[in-house]
Symmetry: C2
Subunit: 274 residues, 2 copies
């Protein structure tokens, strides 16, 4: 908590080196320490490993259990800084692999979120998640999405109706479509639209750097419950972080006027569901 009762939210944008897990993990720990006054630090998708895998066995080589060395490192720095952390890592659970985000509090591992909408080659090695967990924190209710999840707005709606105040989004945005300029990044538009339509905060931590010819576009951003960017977008290249004080209580007010309520004004009977 900040002095005025607000919640300090940090997004950390890193440039992981493919497969160098110890070094990448160390960069995240240093970046969390540099934002030690944050209540919540969000790290990129697959922050420990890099992204551009070419085989399932390459994922197995860098995957960890949710009580592995990365869980230990983030638990330790979370306790040291009294910070909650949401960060992406390749998770192994028995025979299965997931593109997951670890949710860590100063008390230890609180759970994982497993990416529900996998993208492209991820479908070759990861299983999709099936759960939409809500984490109760001292500063509010926390939900998680990973990258491509942002493009399926029914997920943010589901989270908002479950009471989520802030969605932490570890991401690895790439220019889409690739021939368009990166400044058109649609991830930011989806974050803004989802936040604005549901009155939730959305904090996106992207990676930067080029890996095996794929350029990741940075531009990490925190968007408030009106849909307005309140921190970032960070530059489209390089390691950076930014923090901002957010009044998460504003996400509890779903009335826009005395006659308009963003959740109650839906018309579920009109929508095609499947």
């Amino acid at each position: 908590m900040t002095d005025d009762g607000g919640t300090r939210v940090a997004v950390v944008q890193t440039v992981p080196e493919f497969g160098q897990v110890a070094e990448n993990r160390a960069e995240t720990v240093d970046a969390i320490r540099a934002q030690a006054d944050a209540d919540l630090v969000v790290l990129p998708e697959l922050a420990t490993s890099g992204y551009v895998f070419e085989s399932r066995s390459a994922v197995v080589d860098v995957a960890e259990r949710n009580d592995g060395p990365t869980a230990d490192a983030w638990t330790s720095v979370a306790a040291e800084t009294e910070t909650w952390i949401v960060g992406g890592f390749p998770e192994v659970d028995g025979e299965r692999l997931y593109n997951s985000a670890l949710v860590v509090s100063p008390d230890g591992v609180e759970g994982v979120y497993r990416k529900i909408h996998l993208w492209h080659d991820e479908k070759r090695w990861f299983e999709p998640g099936d759960d939409v967990p809500v984490f109760e924190t001292p500063f509010g209710r926390l939900g998680v999405q990973i990258c491509n999840d942002l493009w399926f707005p029914e997920l943010t709606g589901t989270q908002a109706r479950a009471g989520v105040d802030i969605v932490a989004v570890p991401t690895n945005w790439v220019p889409e479509p690739p021939e368009r300029p990166a400044s058109w990044t649609m991830g930011i538009h989806q974050a803004i639209a989802n936040a604005n339509a549901n009155r939730v905060f959305v904090a996106c931590a992207d990676r930067a750097g080029t890996e095996r010819g794929v350029r990741f576009e940075g531009q990490s951003v925190v968007v408030d419950q009106d849909g307005l960017p309140v921190a970032g977008p960070l530059p489209d290249r390089g390691s950076h972080s930014v923090a901002v004080d957010c009044d998460l209580h504003l996400a509890r007010e779903k009335s826009l006027t005395d006659r308009d309520h963003v959740l109650e004004d839906r018309r579920p009977a009109v929508y095609d569901r499947d």
Copy 2:
């Protein structure tokens, strides 16, 4: 159709004068004639009447049946220019009032769309619509939304799954939240996000001008199936129009890659529906 087989889409931004139906209608007809080479012309919400009603009887005074004088005028100019028209008007049907858009082809009235998600005082005089019609046109499948509908992304999803290629959006955007600068207009973000998530074109025709202290923010825009603005945003004040050639066939390609499909990758079993 343009010479290259594309579809010319025009958005017309007017400044209606409250209650001056004949003058407002004449302005729309002149503006349609000025875009006579368009295949589709989109006009603002409640283009014939203005917006800021203070009583139900004031709506009754300017409401028309869907075969009334506005239907006649738009049918006539549609035939003359060989253009499809989607334009907003206050509709009366028996005892009921709707915030509707008339859909007119060179052959006559094709139907109406009745706003599904009413906003604020509209709920005092209009009934909400319950239908999501799809109009088959020579240039593709046409859907309609009106203003606040854009904030409920399940509607665009419903339309995309019904095969809609382009959503025409008569709108009356006001700065929201009012203390923020108009350039943050969330309507554009919602249009971009909806287009990009579903690979449909979205053509928003807004009004401008100030009526009874409410300032409408213009910025009419056509967004392509990638979510990129291809015409506009128009200025935030004044009467303007713009047209752009669109390849609506691109909206039929829902695959982003050989493994990613914007409609099939949804996870309906995971979303809370109600």
